[in-house]
Amino acid sequence: MEQILIFIEQHIEMFYFVILSVFVGVEVIGHVPAVLHTPLMSGANAIHGVVIVGAIHVMLNLQASNYILLILGTLAVLLGTLNVVGGFVVTDRMLEMFKKKN
């Protein structure tokens, strides 16, 4: 029980963060026309690619001697990059089409 309290205390700032971000997320999407749902989903998809930051962080703190972990870490960075780059480029391609006219 005490451990739970300590955990919460240590991460209280994070909990605030989570709660506020949830509301921001809902607010931001709230009144979007159906036209933009697919690009928006794709854009959100690219943004969660921020997980790559974690992958790079993990790599920077690895011992160079553990080959298995090195391979897994490199793979993580590679997949994260695919998510980020592919995600943003695909979204841009979709949105490019809305711009032409006006």
Binding site: I4, F7, F17, V22, V24, G25, V26, V28, I29, G30, A34, V35, L36, H37, T38, P39, L40, M41, S42, G43, A44, N45, A46, I47, H48, G49, V50, V51, I52, V53, G54, I56, H57, V58, L60, N61, L69, G73, L75, A76, V77, L78, L79, G80, T81, L82, N83, V84, G86, G87, F88, V89, V90, T91, D92, R93, M94, L95, M97, F98
Partner: protein
């Protein structure tokens, strides 16, 4: 963590929020995407440049290789893929993000074995990331057409729930009893989660895939957020939670557009049970129409509404349809497009496809807006759409699409439906509309038939 690094993350978080906000408006959407991309670049750069502590050169080299290879492949695929394949691609990239989160947890676990609560983000990232990965791959295969049928094991709901419970219990035990968690357990959890992801998506029919992808998208967001928890990283936390909550809301909005609840998508039967049931019931006479007659009919109409569906996109006929629109407009015919919220394979997908062929944004009307107009319309041309104009959604309570709002095309004076054959639509059900006395069928591949129509129109 130093100040400069933190500032990078602060700016990145801000760009994610602002970028997503801007993406909600057609005028600023593209810029919004670039803003978010810029923030992401900064976050990645900051992580590498401002890292403190010794790092072996080999690690920098490996990171560099992964970044370059990932960028090249990601860029190339995203640029090359056809617009019709967009939903598959989003699903695939989403799976990559999930796998990335799961791998981070695998690599990080040895540093935290023996911890109790500190293990929560690691295990959560592992489980959610793996489910998102394997689920997205299945969704990709389904949209791709590689895996067409909804596969249902007997009592799959019970099986899936049981599997989820086992994963949860193992996870909780690993956190609560420090000696319980071990490397084999972590790999066991990985395997179970991967299998669960497959089992989760496999029974769901193809028509519901967009909803599933959106849901898995928010899962990956959640996995990224747990990574933020793990490293006390605000950019990961904001980005992840933002996508988690926005993605969930988007999922709910999509469900609403199809008039289905999320639980019926996940647990319900759709598309699989209906085949053959209503086949004979509606069996009537189908009338067909020649291209030349249609050209005359359209040419002397006052108002034409085009209902595009996925079939139009598959046939790559969006440019031809635009040409028809321009020709008719030049003859004084009013032309509009009626876009069902789930036309194509995803909400908004059809808009993207038509925009690609330069169709004016203002001509695309959403369902609520256009439905009252059908009664004053001379000709409705349905191209490659089926379920979204199926009156069974209104009249037949036993139909799997019953309750889904549809386009009221049957109110128009003439209905012309272009289809390749009399095969059932994506949901696998018959369409009474084809047997309506006002309906004429225009059989053939959308592109070749419409091209012929253009030529006929020109010669009039």
């Amino acid at each position: 963590m130093n100040a400069l690094n933190e500032i990078c993350y602060l700016i990145a978080s801000l760009t994610f929020i602002v970028g997503l906000r801007m993406m909600g408006n057609p005028k600023t959407a593209r810029k919004g995407n670039l803003v978010a991309a810029g923030g992401m670049f900064l976050a990645i750069l900051g992580t590498i440049l401002f890292h403190q502590g010794p790092v072996k050169p080999i690690i920098y080299i490996l990171i560099g290789i992964a970044l370059v290879v990932g960028t090249v492949i990601g860029w190339y695929t995203a640029k090359k893929v056809a617009m019709t394949k967009m939903p598959e691609l989003v699903s695939l990239f989403n799976g990559m993000g999930g796998a990335c989160a799961a791998l981070i947890s695998l690599v990080e676990y040895p540093n935290l074995s023996g911890h109790s609560f500190g293990l929560i983000p690691v295990l959560a990232g592992l489980i959610i990331g793996s489910v998102s990965f394997s689920g997205s791959i299945i969704a990709f295969l389904k949209l791709n057409g590689t895996m067409n049928k909804a596969i249902r094991l007997p009592a799959y709901n019970v099986l899936n729930t049981a599997m989820m419970m086992i994963i949860l219990v193992l996870g909780i035990l690993a956190v609560a009893i420090p000696n319980f968690n071990s490397t084999p357990l972590v790999y066991g959890l990985l395997l179970l989660s991967l299998v669960y992801g497959i089992m989760f998506v496999i029974p769901i029919g193809g028509a519901d895939m967009p909803v599933v992808i959106s849901l898995l998208n928010s899962f990956t967001g959640l996995a990224a957020a747990f990574g933020g928890f793990l490293y006390d990283n605000k950019a990961m936390l904001t980005g992840g939670i933002l996508v988690g909550s926005a993605g969930t809301l988007l999922t709910v909005i999509m469900c609403k557009a199809m008039n289905r609840s999320l639980s019926s998508v996940i647990f319900g039967a759709f598309g699989a049970k209906a085949e053959g049931v209503s086949g004979s019931a509606s069996g009537g006479v189908v009338k067909d129409i020649q291209v030349s007659d249609l050209a005359v009919l359209m040419n002397y109409s006052k108002k034409v509404i085009i209902v595009p569906g996925y079939g139009l996109a598959v046939a790559q006929a969006q440019h031809v349809i635009h040409e028809i629109e321009l020709l008719l407009e030049s003859r004084g015919v009013e032309v509009k497009y009626a876009i069902h919220p789930v036309a194509g394979r995803m909400p908004g997908h059809m808009n993207v496809l038509l925009a690609e062929s330069n169709v004016d944004y203002a001509k695309l009307s959403e369902m609520e807006e256009i439905n009252p107009e059908f009664s004053s319309t001379d000709v409705v041309l349905v191209v490659g759409a089926n379920d979204v104009v199926n009156p069974a959604a209104k009249t037949d309570p036993s139909s799997p699409i019953y309750g889904m709002p549809i386009l009221d095309v049957e109110n128009a004076t003439h209905i012309v439906v272009n289809k390749r054959s009399m095969n059932a639509g994506y949901a696998g059900i018959d369409n009474e509309l084809f047997f309506n006395t006002k309906t004429s069928m225009l059989f053939g591949d959308a592109k070749s038939v419409l091209t012929a129509l253009v030529n006929e129109l020109k010669s009039l």
